[in-house]
Every structure is written in C-alpha cells, then in structure tokens.
C-alpha cells in the first residue's frame, strides 16, 4: 500500500514543480516592489518579510531544502525582526516632508536604471558558457553532505564568519552598555 502511494506521489511532483517555483517567484517580486514603493514604513517592512518567505519557498521548490529553511529561519526569524525592532524603537515620523533632488523627474530614472541593469545581466548570462552547455543533473544535497562539506572543505570560511559574528555581537553589546559610573 505504501509503495502505491509513493508512486502516486512521484508522479504528480514533476507536473506541478514548475508552478511551485513560478508562483513564489512572482509573489517575491511583487512583495519586493511593494516594499520599495509603500509609504507606510511598517507595511514596507512586512512586505519585505513576505518577499523573504517567498524566496525561501523558491529555494525549497528548487530542491535546496536546507538553504530554503535556513533562509526562513534567519531572514524571517531574525533579520525581519531586527528591521521591525529598529522601526519600533526609533519611531521615524512620516517622511512625507523629505524631498529627493531627483523628485521632479518621476520614475524615469528608476526605470532607465532597472532596464539597463536587466539588459546587461541578460547579455552576460546568455553569453556565458553556463547557458550553452547542458545542465548537469541536480546534485542531491542532503543536510549530512552539507554538514560534511562545511566542516571539511569549507572550515576556514565558516570559522571566519563565526569570528565576524562574534565581533559584531560584542560590538553591539558594548554599544548598548551604559557607562558604569559608581
């Protein structure tokens, strides 16, 4: 009976896997655009969080389970909370008064920059050897293998990142500590 169900599962996964990537990607793009465009700072922060979640789902749908879950854990659980706390604690007043020097031009500058970047990126991607050769089969990346690689071949970058994070933590603690005056 279980084998029967497993065969059913395998059959349908291939058919809907492309939608599993396309829909979250669309959501992510929309949310990122909203995060940039929204007036209300908290709404923008929450749309940014939504784009993080969508990106995590894209990673998982592409088969990179570990990266996707870590994306959710770190970005949504920690970075988004950090952004939100920063907004809460600093309480910025409405930025309606701020005028940018390019305000008169409207969205023209942004569209030109975005279009130029898109054209350049597409040109580079399609002229690189990656687009010409056939894709190798997707590597199976169970968590155990990632752990072995991290602790084996990539141990030095891991330790460097650890030291960096520790320095950041200590720095933050020092900044937040008051001067202990007797």
């Amino acid at each position: 009976m279980n084998e029967f169900l497993q065969r059913l599962n395998a059959l349908s996964w291939d058919a809907c896997s492309q939608w599993l990537v396309l829909i979250p990607s669309g959501v992510m793009l929309l949310a990122a655009a909203a995060a940039a465009a929204l007036r209300n700072l908290i709404h923008a922060a929450l749309c940014l969080t939504l784009s993080f979640i969508a990106l995590g789902i894209v990673f998982i749908a592409l088969g990179a389970e570990f990266v996707g879950l870590v994306q959710l854990l770190v970005y949504v659980g920690a970075v988004a909370m950090l952004i939100v706390f920063a907004i809460l604690l600093t309480r910025p007043s409405d930025l309606a008064g701020a005028k940018s020097p390019f305000a008169g031009l409207g969205p023209v500058g942004g569209i030109l920059t975005g279009a130029g970047l898109l054209v350049a990126l597409l040109a580079f991607i399609f002229s690189s050897p990656v687009a010409k050769t056939a894709l190798p089969p997707a590597p199976v990346a169970p968590v155990a293998k990632i752990g072995e690689l991290l602790m084996g071949s990539y141990i030095v970058p891991l330790q460097v990142v650890g030291v960096l994070l520790t320095a950041a933590l200590i720095g933050a603690a020092v900044l937040a500590m008051e001067d202990k005056q007797p």
Partner: protein, 402 residues
C-alpha cells in the same frame, strides 16, 4: 485486496484506513493526481481535526486541573464534568462584537491572527505520530520546525503594532524579545540530539531511541545526563516560546492589560488562543520526539499498544506537566527572564552540547556517562549557586531608560 473489507490490523489503523479508502477510490477510476490530493487532504484534515479537538479538551482540562490544585472545582456545569465548556466558550467568542480601534492599522490588525495560526498548524507536518506516520518526510525536519516557528514572532509584532496602543507595542516588544532570546537554548538543545543521532529527520531520531539497554530499560535520550539537561532546557524554552507561565509576561493581565492581545476581541482572540495552544502541543510533540522516544514504547512487551497511542500519551503527559508548572510558579519579571535565558540557559546548553560530544567520542560506555554527567553537572551547580546567592545589601543603582 478485498476492497470492501475493513482491515483489522489495529496498530497501524490510521495508515491502513487511508490506504484502503484510496484503493477503493482508485477502483472507481479516480485519476492518480486526484488521489494524491485526496490523500493529502485526508492527512491534513485528520491532523487539524485531532489537534483542534485536543485544544478544546485542553482548554477545559487545564482549568479543571488548575482548580483542583487550588482546592476548588473547575468548570463543572456544562456537560458531564464540565467537558462541554469549550462549546460554551466558542459560542461566546463567536458572538462577541469584533472591536477594531479606529486608528488601528486595519490590514495588519486583521492579518495578525492568521499569521499566528498558520505556522502553528504548519509545524505539525513533520512530527512522527507513529510508526510510518509522518505527514511529510523531510530530511531537515527539525530545521523546518524552527524555521516555520519563526513566523510566530512576525505575528506577535503585527498584533502589537497593528493595535496602535502603547500597551500592545510594549507587550509585543517584550514578547518578541522573550521569544528570540529563548530560541537559542531551544535550537541548541535540539541540535544536541541531532548531533548524537546524526540526522535532522524526526523519524530517524525516533528510530535511534528504539533500543532497550539491559533488555528492558528504554534508550530514550532523556535518560542520559546530557539528554536530561537538554530536555529540561528545551522544556523551559518551550514554555517561554509559547508564552506560558512562568513566562507569560506578555499576556499577564496585571502587567500590560493583555499585552499584544489587548485590542483583540471575539473570534480573533479565540484564534490567538487556539494558535497558542496548538503551538504548545506542537512543541510538546517535538520534545517527545527528540527526548522521550517519540512513538516508542517504554518496555519491550508494551509494543502491543499502538505507537500513535504512545505518542499522544507522552504528549498528554508533557502538556500535563506544563499545566502543573503553571499552577506552581509565579510570573517572572522581564529582566529576570532575559538574564535567565542569556546567562544561565545558554551556557548550560553549550555544556550539554559538549557533554553529548564527549559522551559519543568516549565510546558511550560507563566512563562516557560519568564524564558527561560531570561536564553537565559542574556548570549547573556553579552557575546556579552564583545566581541564587544572597547578595549583600548595598546602595541600589537605579537605571533609567534614556
């Protein structure tokens, strides 16, 4: 297989029932993709149904147990022994007027209960409810649990901010600070178990606790020194993550009205309440999976009782201890809470980590047991005595927020 005869194998009853039903549908010509969808719907529906019934039952049993501890009867008017009280509570919650403050952020205020409920239900997907009864076999299941559980913090913030109320914002900030601080010991305790097992998959962790030492003593991780400490740390962090006593400062009435839940009434409040209880069950389920052997029976001859009975029995026991702790302990102050998390629980979790590693590399024999007990016991006694020592009375140093 005879499609119209119900299978009689009781121990694997849920799996057998589902397979029988699906094969029945297949014999009627239902296409394969629809069968997959129906199978998923059946599993999800069953899990949600079971946990919502458990939520209803727990809400009344908690009140009755608390009452008995306080030498009084609990609710005993509605239904036999008051067990239909959740029905009365549900009717009350549904018929209450849904007040939204005029200056509240409508979208954020509305979505907060939804965002709270969804992760609480999603994390139930990776728990192994019995032998071969995991809804989603994920290779990194434990990581999935914590990743999705992080969504709860976003919901708390949304609830606090969206209400446009000073008490809510304060309560939300404290709640998030508490949840983020206690996530570290929680995750490190879980990682200790993953390290010893060699896998992040919950089913592998449960299977690794299946051996019986001396032929009768269960090989659960809670019975090892490092496992016992890690289990206790996980339990305390679980209490803090679900905002339960003694860590229920965010929702204490005498502290902050109701914290981030101040401006919620009626069904939205019921949703928050439900999400909190379902989250509590989920984290109890994870505790049972990681430390108490999941669906394993405690003695070899007790495997007659179905595995899912053992799982839910253990979850019920852990939930009962949570209610017991709620009846016993007073609420902690926010600075005590944070000090406890960062200065005691985090070093202890690292000590448990080190003890587990030493236990494994010392060969898992008697020497390994003694060594890990020392590595865990010495920091516990030293740190504990340091923090519970009586301080001398000096001039108090006042701290004001700038």
């Amino acid at each position: 297989m005879n499609f119209f005869a119900l299978p009689v194998h009781f121990v694997q009853a849920p799996n057998e029932l589902k397979a029988w039903f699906l094969s029945l549908l297949a014999s009627f010509g239902v296409p394969a993709w629809l069968l997959v969808v129906i199978s998923a719907v059946l599993v999800i529906g069953t899990i949600i149904g079971v946990f919502l019934v458990l939520f209803a039952l727990t809400s009344v049993l908690e009140r009755k147990i608390l009452a008995r501890v306080q030498n009084r009867y609990g609710p005993n008017r509605v239904g036999p022994c008051g067990l239909f009280q959740p029905v009365a509570d549900g009717i009350k919650m549904i018929t209450k007027e849904d007040l939204v403050p005029r200056s509240a952020d409508k979208i954020v205020h509305f979505l907060a209960p939804v965002v709270m409920m969804v992760p609480a239900l999603m994390v139930l997907a990776i728990l192994p409810y019995g032998r071969d009864m995991v809804p989603a076999e994920l290779d990194a299941g434990i990581l999935y649990f914590f990743a999705v559980g992080a969504g709860t913090e976003v919901a708390v913030f949304m609830a606090g901010w969206g209400s446009n109320n000073k008490y809510s914002v304060l309560g939300a900030m404290r709640a998030i600070a508490q949840m983020v601080s206690y996530e570290l010991p929680l995750i490190i305790s879980a990682v200790v178990v993953a390290m010893v097992t060699g896998s992040l998959a919950p089913s592998a962790i449960v299977t690794a606790q299946g051996d019986f030492a001396f032929g009768f003593f269960p090989g659960w991780y809670v019975f090892t020194p490092w496992g016992f400490v890690a289990c206790l740390l996980f339990y305390i962090a679980a209490l803090a993550e679900s905002n339960r006593c003694p860590f229920d400062l965010p929702e204490g009435e005498s502290e902050l009205v109701a914290g981030h839940l101040t401006e919620y009434s009626g069904f939205k409040y019921a949703t928050f309440f439900m999400a909190e209880y379902v989250g509590m069950f989920a984290i109890c389920g994870l505790l049972v999976t990681l430390f108490l052997g999941g669906w394993q029976a405690p003695l070899p001859f007790l495997t007659i009782v179905p595995s899912w009975c053992w799982f839910f029995g253990k979850v019920a026991f852990v939930a009962f201890t949570m209610i017991w702790v709620r009846a016993t302990l007073p609420r902690m102050r926010i600075d005590h809470l944070m000090t406890f998390a960062w200065k005691f629980m985090l070093p202890m979790s690292f000590a448990a980590f080190l003890a587990a590693a030493c236990w494994h590399y010392a060969g898992r024999g008697p020497l390994a047991w003694a060594l890990s007990a020392v590595i865990v016991g010495v920091p516990y006694l030293v740190l504990g005595n340091h923090f519970t020592a009586r301080f001398s009375v000096t001039n108090r140093r006042y701290q004001f927020s700038e």
